[in-house]
Each structure stands twice: as C-alpha cells, then as structure tokens.
C-alpha cells in the first residue's frame, strides 16, 4: 500500500533558536510514506525540538515544512493531529484521572456521539491492534507499556499518516518493546510512516528503514539503515571516533561493605544481598520488578516491614535519606524531573544541594565555596549550560542528569546508587558517566546500578543480580554468563 517515491514529510532548512542556544540549524529531512524513519543524536542535538516544531508546539524561526504535499506555515498540535501527524512525547501525554476510552477520544466527545460512542469506538481500535486493555480502566492505573498502547491507539484514532515516537522505549521492558515493534510493523504495512527517536541503537537497527543522525542542531547524515554500521553511526553522533561504547571493566572488588538481609515490604519478599567494596553491582529486571523499591528502601526513602542492614559489619539503622547520607550513601533517582532536580533552581543550587551541610559553619552557608563547587562539577562533568546560574529546566535531559551526578560526586559517597543513570542520555554522555563510575570504584567506592539496558549492566558491573516480582532470583558473573541466561532468570 505504501507509495514509494512519495514523501509524506519534507523539511527544508528549518532553524530554531532559544535564548542562548541554536537548537536547530538548517535542518532538512525527507520522510517517505510507509517507512520507519529513525533519528539519533546526542542529548541536546535538537531531536525533540524538531518534533515539537512539526507537531506545532514550537514555532520555527525559518525554513519550510511540507506535509502530505502541502506547505504548512503555522500549525497547532490539534491541527497537526487532524492533518494526520501525531506525536507520542518522551513524557506520556495522557490524563491519568480519566478512562482509556476518553483519553483516546479526548476533546472529540461530541463527534464520537457521547460516552457510549467513545467507548465503543475505542474498543474497536484497541481490538484492531490486538490489545485487551479495558476502555473503562483509569489511565493512572495502567502500566507504562499499556499507556504507550493507549498513546498509539490515540494516534491511530486520528487516521494518522505519520506517527512520531520520541524515545518510546525508555520505559518499556524488552517484552513490551517486542510488542511495540510488532505494532510499528503493522503501521508500516498500512502505509503509515513512523519517526522513531531513540538512544538505543539496537532498536534503530531492528526497526528502522532510514536513519538520520543529528548533532548540535544539524543533520549530519541521512541514509538507509542498511548502509550504515553501528560504529559509523556512533562516530557521526559524537563527532569523534569511539572505539568502545564502554570503558574497560574495573576489577578492584574488596571485602563486604553493605549487607542487606530479609528486606520485606508490600512488594519485596525477603530480599538479601551483599555489596562489596569497590564493586559495581547491577540489578536486572523488568519494569515493576521492584528494583527501585529495593534501593529506595535501603536508602531509607520508603518505609519497610523488616530488614537488617550491616555496614562494614556493623548493624546500622537507616530510616531516612539523611541517615543514609550520613552512612555514606547517595541515590540518583529514577525520575530526574520529579525526584531529582529542582527545575526552577539554578544548576549550581542543584549541584550543591546535597553537600550544603559541609559548606555550612554555624548554620551559615559559605557562598564562595558553593560557587566553587558548582563551577568545578560543571567543568568536571562537561555540563552544557550557559552559566552556573542557568535554571535547570532549560537544560537538555542528559545535562540535567549530569547535574544530579555532579551533586553526588561532590559528596563522594561510599555507596552510590544509580537508578537508570543513563535513561534518555546520548552515547557520549553515557560514556562519560561510565568513566565516572569507574573512577568512583577505583577510589574505593561501591556502586549499585539499576538499568533497563542489559548490555550496559553486563559491560559495567562486576556482579549482576536478577530481580523478579520482588525477589532476588539469581546472581551472575557477567563476564561468564550469557545475556540469554540472565534474561530468563529476570523474566522468572
């Protein structure tokens, strides 16, 4: 059904500037009908910005956009939708308090003939992609992948000819990812094009037909995926040759540092494990397996039913994050915007907020030291920001993440817990974070690392624990165990 040769979307010389940043610089792409079009690029390369211009959230400064043969001057999200261009954002775009059906037909209640029509049509659409989600279920009660399906269904309900997915996989498990892949293939068969943005290059190679690499607001290259190798792609993304996606594994594991026994909460059942000195311990599991819950419990952020915690052989009580910090722990939380950063505050304030105690004498903060720390971490981590006083909400995701990493580096904790440290972060920045992790263990610290990217865990950790439904189901040496072996334990 696809019409080769015909472009559904043509973007020519689009520019966009934000105060102090040239986010897009003469960007041109052409998306044919019925293809999956991948876009990759470092954090802050301008991928999301381009998509937001296409969907009408931002206005372009200059350039032309042609959709389905028609030149589009200005557009709003809803006009774009009705024209047949829908976008699934990095963050979900659903009303949690309303039902699935109403979310799919949000704003078109009357056109669909009231409550009954909405649910009937939603049911039919969901059935057509083989989903069994109830249309009456509240979206807030759904899992991440189910929400994604609702988003896709919503896009389909508009008869979209182009669906943009901005990092759709960042919160999906591999199982759910497979389902998503199937749906994308279905879309392709229907002649619907997909723009697929991801930092996970495996997915790009698996799903995409054509790929565009962006860097610093420019398109570096656009080619069929088959014509580009992985290393070539990475090289183009970061603008330099990377021999390896991962730095060499460290081997400086010492004696036991932290012992957890019988950790039990509503979701966790009798979790016990040991973290050694100088070790990177990886947690592998599906979303909702309880990895975050384990580390939050250790860190004292959540209440627990029972557990004992031995730190350097001594039983220690950690009832809140403060005590955890005193005991030498640090936590990089899963959701950087909601739990990590204070978005309206400056980069500096965000970096120093965990180490304020040390800068304080008689209750008074030493401002010059604070500045010094801010500058140091910005330089140390290579955070791209106009100044230390810039508010963090204008930073790109990766740079935001670096601010939080910087916060903990400054504190130099014995045990650093990283919950999805590289989620939504580009390859270059990832590499930097990996190097940082190695530096920490080299200096005698230990790391617990949670990640949904299996290769990352396998390449970085000294030991891997698999978690399934709140239980520790296995322990592996990543250097000897195969990925398949580990995954099978993680699935349960």
């Amino acid at each position: 059904m696809s019409q080769p040769g015909r472009n559904i979307l043509v973007v020519r010389d689009v520019c966009k500037s934000f105060p102090g940043v040239k986010a897009l610089d003469r960007v041109s792409i052409q998306v044919p009908s019925g293809v999956v079009y991948g876009i990759v690029g470092e954090n802050g390369a301008g991928k999301s910005t381009l998509m937001k211009i296409l969907s009408g959230v931002y206005e372009k400064d200059s350039g032309t956009i042609e959709f389905d043969g028609k030149v589009i001057e200005r557009t709003t999200p809803i006009q774009a939708l009705r024209r047949g261009l829908s976008i699934i954002y990095q963050e979900f775009n659903l009303v949690n308090t309303m039902s699935v059906g109403e979310n799919i037909y949000l704003g078109r209640f009357r056109e669909m003939g009231g409550m009954r029509g909405v649910h009937k049509k939603a049911r039919a659409l969901l059935d057509s992609i083989g989903s069994r989600i109830s249309t009456y279920a509240k979206v807030g009660d759904l899992s991440a992948s189910e929400m994604q399906i609702v988003e896709i269904t919503k896009a389909l309900s508009f008869d979209s000819r182009l669906i943009i997915m901005d990092e759709p996989s960042s919160s999906l498990t591999s199982e759910e990812l497979k389902r998503l892949g199937k749906i994308i293939n279905q879309l392709r068969d229907k002649g619907i094009s997909t723009i697929y943005i991801s930092h996970k290059l495996d997915e790009i190679f698996e799903y995409c037909d054509i790929v565009t690499v962006m860097r610093d607001g420019c398109v570096i290259d656009s080619r069929p995926v088959s014509e580009m190798s992985r290393s070539e792609m990475i090289e183009k993304m970061v603008g330099r040759t990377i021999d390896n996606e991962y730095p060499p594994r460290m081997h400086c594991v010492g004696g036991p540092l932290l012992e957890i026994k019988n950790l039990t909460t509503r979701k966790l059942h009798d979790v016990s494990f040991t973290l050694n000195r100088g070790e990177i311990l990886g947690f592998v599991g599906l979303v909702g397996a309880g990895r975050t819950e384990i580390v939050r419990a250790i860190y004292g952020a959540d209440k627990v039913r029972s557990h004992t915690l031995h730190l350097q052989g001594k039983q220690t009580r950690v009832r809140n994050p403060k005590e955890a910090m005193v005991a030498g722990m640090g936590l990089l939380p899963e959701d950087r915007k909601r739990e990590g950063l204070i978005l309206p505050f400056s980069v500096e304030a965000n970096i120093t907020m965990a180490s304020l105690d040390r800068l304080t004498r008689h209750g008074i903060i030493d401002r010059s030291k604070e500045k010094e720390i801010g500058e140091r971490q910005i330089k140390n981590l290579n955070i791209k920001t106009p100044s230390a006083q810039t508010r963090t909400h204008s930073l790109s995701g990766g740079n935001q993440q670096k601010c939080i990493v910087g916060r903990w580096l400054e504190l130099d904790p014995q045990i650093l817990i990283l919950d999805e440290p590289t989620r939504g972060i580009d390859v270059g920045a990832k590499y930097e974070i990996y190097t940082l992790m190695n530096r920490i263990v080299e200096a005698g610290g230990s790391i617990i690392m949670i990640s949904s990217e299996l290769p990352e865990v396998l390449n970085m950790s000294n030991r891997v624990l698999t978690i399934c439904e709140g239980r520790v189901t296995g322990e592996f040496n990543p250097e000897t165990a195969s990925a398949a072996e580990i995954m099978s334990r993680a699935i349960g």
Partner: protein, 320 residues
Amino acid sequence: MRNENKLLRFINQNLVLLGIIVLVTVTAVIQPKFLMTRNLTNILRQMTSLAFVALGMTFVIIGGFIDLSVVGMVSLVSVITASLINPIGQVGALLCGLLAGALLGYLNGTILTKFGATIQAEVLFITYGMSSVFIAVGLLVTNAETLRIARSTRPYDMFTAIGSGSFLGIPISILIFAVILAIMYFFQTRTLAGRSISLMGGNKTAAYLCGFNINRTMQMVYTINGLMSAFGSIVLMSRVTTATATLGTGYEANAILCVVVGGTTLAGGKGNVLRTLLGVFLITLLSNCMNLLGLSTYMQTVMNGAVLVTAIWLDNRKRL
C-alpha cells in the same frame, strides 16, 4: 534604544516600587499634608504589625505552603500577652506571648505534618479550620471581652513604648522590625535552614532525597510564622493598647496579598523578604492615601481590590 530597553526592564522588574512612587507623588501633590512627618511616622507605625505577619507568611509561601491561621494566632497571642501582664509582669508577658506564638505555629506545623498535608489546598483549609479553633479558644478565655493594657495594675510602659515610643525620632516598633527583618533576610539568604525552606518549596521529593527533613523544615516554617505573628500581635496590641480575640481580623488575606504583590509566587521556592516589605508598604500606603484624598470608605475597598488585582496581573505578565 538599548537604554530604553534597560529602563523598561527596570520598570518591569520594579512595578511595586513604581506604584509606590506614583501613589506618593500624586497624593503629595493633591494633599501636601501627606508629607508631614507625623503622617509618615504614622504610616510606618501602622504597617509594622502587618509587616511582621507578612514576613512570616513569606517563609510559608516560599516553602510552598500557605497559612490562613495567622489571624487566629495574632488574636490569641494578644489575649495571652495582655492577660499575663498583671500576674507575671510585662517582660514575662512579652516573652510568654512570643513563646505562645511560636508554639501555636509549631502546633500548626505538627498537625500538618502528622496528617501529611502536602498540597497547598489541603494546607489552606486545614489552617482555615485552625484559625477558627484559635479564635474560639481566645473567645472562650476572654468571654469576648476586650482587655485593655491600661487597666493592668503592673507597669506596662514597655508595651506603650513599643506602640507609641520613638528613638531618635524613629518609632520603636519600626526599629524592632528593622532588626528582625535584617535577621530574617540573613536567615533566608545565608543559612542552611533558610535554604532548606526554598529547596523544599522548589521540589519536596528532591529535597527529601538529598537528606533534608521535610517535616522538620515544615514545622520550622510554621514556627517562624507563629513567632512573627506573635511579634505582629504584640506590636499591634501595644499600639491600640487593647487586646481582643478578634484582633488582626483580615490579616490573613492582607498578609498573603502583600507577599504576592511583593513578587513571591504561590508556587513556592522563589521569594524575597525584602520585596514583601515593599508589598506591605504599598498596601498600607494605599489606605492612607485614599483617606487623605477624601475617598469614601467604599471607594477605598474598590480601589484596594483593583490595585491588588492589577498588581498581581502586571507582575504575572512580566513573568510570562
């Protein structure tokens, strides 16, 4: 061109100041008596009590909360202080009054943290209920009678000095306020405790995960607010020399308005105690100017509301 822009930006950033200047100029031209020293000191005296309450409220709002119980605290503290002069003397009464304010604030903070109220709306209505409770307790204690400090058999010269005395021509109450303001400014900008308030206002979860004790910070904020209300209450009481269980009615709304007009956003995190002072000044000045210009009381209420709505609106436009 450049300079013009700069000027515009300055004006934009200091609308309240501009409003004050315009108001002062217009009033002074139409009614030269406005500039009499006595009038100016009157304005200062008049604003101090509200300024104290607004100062406390600034911290609450920076912390991301709100407090409607200040009127209850102001009245209850005045009742407690006035009725303690006879039995324990004026110094004791003063200290007890301040302590009582801090305790009432602490009570608020404790109730809120125990219930786990984190959304501003929840806090709003719980403190609204608390206000009712405080006022009712004050009424039960006094049986709605007005206590007059002049009726005490012990000396009460310290209270009259706070209310009407001057030092080098400056009202004593404003001197006390200046000292407290300086302390509070330092507290807000330079101390860890002050910073923890704005961090909490910015993002509670993030602050919590960085080792800040949110419940304690919240209690601290409300305790400060209670203490400031107590200061406001004592200043007000010594000025009018009476204490009732309804003293300070309307202070809750006025204090919030002063804080917001001063540029502290209700979203929390951002704010400045010095700017609040400008807000208080504008509001106090407004009623004085209206009275001097001979506007009817009703017209004043209209103008008050209109100025507030406009001030907030303009301030908001600037932020857009």
